[in-house]
């Protein structure tokens, strides 16, 4: 784990990169990294995020300047900009069930090729997917998802990169921290080693590549 500035961290992300961003309607999203992605005008991003948040909040900021070219998510209804860009075909959006979304990411982080889920059988979601019967029930084969970068927000991060989360700001963060080549973390508080008891560490330090230092 290396401590870096937001500017240094975002400079590592090339245009066109695939980024996973934690958060649920902007809660638990690393806002400082989003602000810096906007400031450095990164473009053509492939965004993997649960939702498009709202305008001006969380990943919602990336739609103001049309920095996203493709997105996989589960719900974009509360961001009119994202809706508009999708309906105008400016961006390509794959909307998938939320349980499937998180399991595909979990599979990507856990070395699995994918998962079998009953969700979506008999709906538009099954189009183009393999159906597999197991013990008399039909499942869809949903393939694993990984990203170049995971942008994660924790509540506490210690000097070794161990992370813990707060309340509903946990959401997709620990799962995404497993599923990207490079993991960049912001935290509400950076604390000395030992402050997070081993039992309370949710994301172990070795998973974290870069921690945004206090600036």
């Amino acid at each position: 784990m290396k401590a870096v500035s937001t500017e240094q961290a975002v400079a590592m992300i090339p245009n066109g990169a695939t980024i996973m961003v934690g958060g649920f309607m902007g809660i638990g999203t690393p806002e400082r990294l989003l602000d810096e992605l906007v400031r450095q005008q990164k473009s053509g991003l492939f965004l993997i995020s649960n939702d498009a948040a709202t305008p001006g909040k969380g990943v919602g900021k990336l739609f103001e300047g049309a920095q996203v070219s493709r997105m996989i998510g589960t719900h974009i209804g509360l961001n009119p900009k994202a809706q508009q860009q999708m309906l105008n075909k400016q961006i390509s959006v794959d909307l998938i069930p939320q349980g499937t979304f998180v399991e595909r990411i979990r599979a990507g982080g856990c070395g699995l090729g994918g998962v079998l889920t009953p969700t979506g059988v008999g709906t538009l979601v099954e189009e183009g997917k393999r159906k597999i019967d197991v013990n008399g029930r039909t499942y869809l084969l949903e393939t694993a998802l990984r990203a170049d970068f995971a942008l994660v927000h924790a509540f506490l991060a210690d000097y070794a990169g161990n992370l813990s989360y707060a309340l509903t700001a946990r959401n997709f963060n620990p799962v995404m921290a497993m599923a990207a080549d490079t993991v960049i973390v912001t935290a509400e508080h950076v604390v000395p080693i030992g402050v997070i008891a081993p039992d309370h560490v949710v994301t172990p330090g070795p998973l974290v590549d870069y921690l945004i230092a206090n600036e």
Binding site: T74, I76, P97, T119, T123, T168, A169
Partner: protein
């Protein structure tokens, strides 16, 4: 009584002590306001919480504690938080006793459409498909008709949320169940006659000999 109160009160009667319940956005959220006195249930918010409590008082909202719409909520004593993989494991894995969702259409076979209107409104399904697929009991809470058009239809014209039929539909006019895959009128709202329900409903309804009024 306004339509939302009728629906909220009637759905609340379906909850049993100790149930783990997931309430969707909109009318379903109101169900929590009408719990029968003394009934203890657990509410799950799919963004990672069991033990959802009331909206906090002005100035006491915690920025890292919201419901699935991103609105501030509180957590009751004994609440538990978890990540989204566990949250949807609970949902898909059959650990949620009751899910209450809004609807755009429910058809005569009990199949629900509630996540998109092609080319017009495509917000995404969020957690709805997993909830209908995995919860033990699925209740749809919605207005009987939208702009004069029945939302109970012969066959859904909008994309389905799941092929699994729902268990119960509660509207401002009626309670409908689907025994044997066929819509049956179980109750009518206060002051609403069976004939009035039939007149606005676009699906064939089985009418039992006795159709009581909702007790609200």
């Amino acid at each position: 009584m306004d339509p939302q109160t009728i629906i909220g009160r009637r759905v609340a009667q379906e909850l049993r002590p100790g149930n783990l319940v997931n309430l969707g956005i909109g009318i379903p959220t109101l169900v929590a306001n009408y719990l029968p006195e003394g009934l203890k249930v657990f509410f799950q918010s799919e963004n990672g919480l069991i033990g959802t409590g009331p909206i906090p008082e002005q100035g006491l909202a915690h920025p890292l504690l919201t419901d699935a719409a991103g609105k501030p909520i509180s957590a009751l004593p004994g609440a538990a938080v978890f990540d989204s993989a566990m949250s949807f494991g609970l949902i898909r894995g059959g650990h949620v006793d009751i899910t209450v969702l809004g609807g755009l259409q429910v058809d005569a076979g009990g199949r629900l459409a509630n996540w998109m209107v092609p080319r017009k409104m495509v917000p995404g399904m969020g957690g709805a498909m997993d909830l209908v697929c995995g919860a033990k009991r699925v209740i749809v809470a919605m207005q009987h008709a939208a702009r004069g058009t029945s939302k109970i239809v012969a066959k859904c014209t909008l994309p389905l949320t799941s092929e699994r039929p729902v268990d119960l539909v509660v509207t401002d006019m009626a309670v409908i169940a689907f025994p044997g895959g066929k819509a049956m009128l179980l109750e009518t709202a206060p002051g609403v006659t069976v004939a009035e329900v039939l007149a606005v409903t676009l699906a064939e309804l089985t009418i039992p000999d006795k159709v009581p009024e909702m007790k609200l």
